[in-house]
């Protein structure tokens, strides 16, 4: 039996095309991926992302424990500030990537990937068991929170009609606790699309009321409900990593472009640090790069990647699609580091054909 969000009936009502996504029954699209993608780039889109996991770490020792758990440095965060991070195993493999919200001096919300929530929570509890410092309270509150993402250049204007919280005062990657309508909400200026926008964390059962109000007030602005299909093309145009594609339990953050959230110099030990430091010493062998197809062939996850000689296999595609904004096939490939330079020619084996591609600057999409 697939899990359903509090917005399941709304999706059916909006004629969402429902699919199994990591055990959740969610809409892959409503009106169509292209239309929804374009709405987010030019106006606004709303997404039901209630399947994401919410883990709270709070009480004495919370800040130090989170810093022991993740690769980034939460000691630099002010209350109401957010941070992207990774959480590794002892071998330096990525257990998950996550967004951390500091809600109080010793209160953190960790937002993790839906399909990883149970694995992550078990990992966090096992880390807590071996942790020798002051142990905070760790709770999985995924079933208590719905999450709605409101993304696009008109997101602030639309959402502002429904809240007394001054949205213009929330900077990118900051949040405030307030209300949307009369519903208590964590209002965060974060997202996964490359556009300005907000993610709202509201009590599970309150989601339909908030969802309908946003749809209603945003309709005249060109707001559309958006499914997982557009969420994927939007994040891919930004080269944002997706767990299970770019990130796995075996990949080291230094080999998938996450050095910027891996703070080996922070004033805290953390799980995976020695393995990551060792790789930094010897030098990463792999890199995650963006490619653009020089023909019609579309790179897809799992396709083999060959060097410019067309014969030496150097990696594989982690994600690929036809970019709705650029109208050209794009992909993210995990290749030997020698092939990461912009302009490098690479071949992707698309069925029986070798499609020529080149390494390009990312994000693929720029305003």
């Amino acid at each position: 039996m697939l899990k359903r969000t509090a917005l399941f009936e709304e999706h059916l009502h909006l004629k969402g095309k429902m699919v199994d996504f990591g055990g959740w029954e969610l809409p892959v699209q409503y009106s169509g991926v292209l239309a929804e993608h374009t709405a987010v780039r030019t106006a606004c889109g709303i997404f039901d992302v209630s399947h994401m996991g919410e883990v709270f770490v709070e009480g004495a020792g919370a800040s130090e424990f989170v810093n022991f758990l993740v690769t980034n440095d939460v000691s630099v965060l002010a209350t109401e500030q957010a941070q992207y991070s990774a959480m590794c195993n002892a071998q330096g493999g990525i257990v998950d990537d996550l967004v951390i919200y500091k809600l109080g001096a010793e209160k953190f919300l960790l937002v993790v990937n839906a399909a990883n929530t149970d694995k992550d929570f078990a990992h966090i509890q096992s880390v807590l068991t071996q942790y020798t410092g002051t142990k905070p309270k760790v709770t999985n509150q995924s079933a208590q929170y719905s999450q709605i993402a409101v993304q696009g250049p008109k997101a602030e204007a639309i959402l502002q009609r429904l809240t007394e919280t001054k949205l213009s005062e929330i900077k990118t990657y900051w949040c405030k606790e307030g209300k949307v309508l009369d519903t208590p909400a964590i209002i965060a200026r974060t997202g996964y699309t490359g556009e300005d926008g907000f993610e709202l964390y509201v009590p599970w059962a309150e989601a339909p009321k908030v969802w309908r109000a946003i749809l209603e007030t945003g309709a005249a602005d060109g707001l559309l409900p958006c499914g997982l299909g557009a969420r994927d093309t939007l994040r891919l145009e930004m080269k944002y990593a997706l767990y299970g594609h770019e990130l796995t339990d075996e990949t080291n953050p230094l080999e998938v472009g996450l050095a910027w959230v891996t703070k080996l110099g922070k004033n805290s030990d953390f799980i995976g640090k020695s393995a990551i430091a060792a790789l930094k010493q010897t030098g990463p062998k792999k890199a995650l790069v963006g490619i653009r197809s020089l023909g019609r062939g579309i790179p897809r996850q799992g396709y083999e990647v060959y060097a410019a000689d067309g014969a030496t296999r150097v990696g594989f595609v982690t994600s690929g699609t036809s970019s709705p904004s650029l109208k050209t096939p794009i992909g993210v490939v995990w290749v030997d580091k020698a092939h990461e330079a912009i302009g490098t020619k690479l071949f992707v084996k698309v069925r029986e054909e070798m499609q020529e591609t080149e390494v390009v600057k990312t994000p693929f999409y720029r305003k």
Partner: protein, 128 residues
């Protein structure tokens, strides 16, 4: 969705239109395009290729998915619609008018009669 009565259909979601006793046009159904979503790529076979019934003759890709195309009958490819390959989104907007290939077979008419009628296909799609 409505399925034209003059076309015949397959469980692989292709349609066929008999254009003479020995030739038919082949495309994909409204159900197929709707399931795929926004179509961005179409790969067609070379003219002259001999196909068996149910053999893969090409590939269609939407933003999200890759799908093989299956020949409804045994026959030879005598035309491939390169205009459609350069504008594959027409498969979404006019699926039953967007032919992909023309197949030729001496018994094309007899093979055509073995395919599903519009009513049979409509009923089949409802069971999916």
């Amino acid at each position: 969705m409505s399925y034209p009565q003059n076309l015949k259909y397959t469980k692989d979601h292709e349609w066929a239109e008999l254009t003479s006793d020995t030739q038919m046009k082949i495309g994909i159904t409204d159900h197929a395009q709707s399931a795929l979503g926004d179509i961005v790529y179409l790969d067609l076979p070379k003219v002259g290729r001999e196909l068996k019934a149910h053999e893969t003759f090409g590939v269609v890709e939407s933003i999200k998915a890759v799908s093989d195309l299956f020949s409804p009958i045994q026959g030879k490819v005598v035309q491939a619609n390169s205009d459609l390959a350069s504008e594959p989104s027409k498969l979404n907007t006019e699926p039953h008018r967007s032919w992909m290939i023309v197949l030729e077979a001496s018994d094309a008419k007899a093979q055509f009669q073995t395919l599903m009628s519009a009513d049979e296909y409509s009923a089949y799609v409802k069971t999916l």
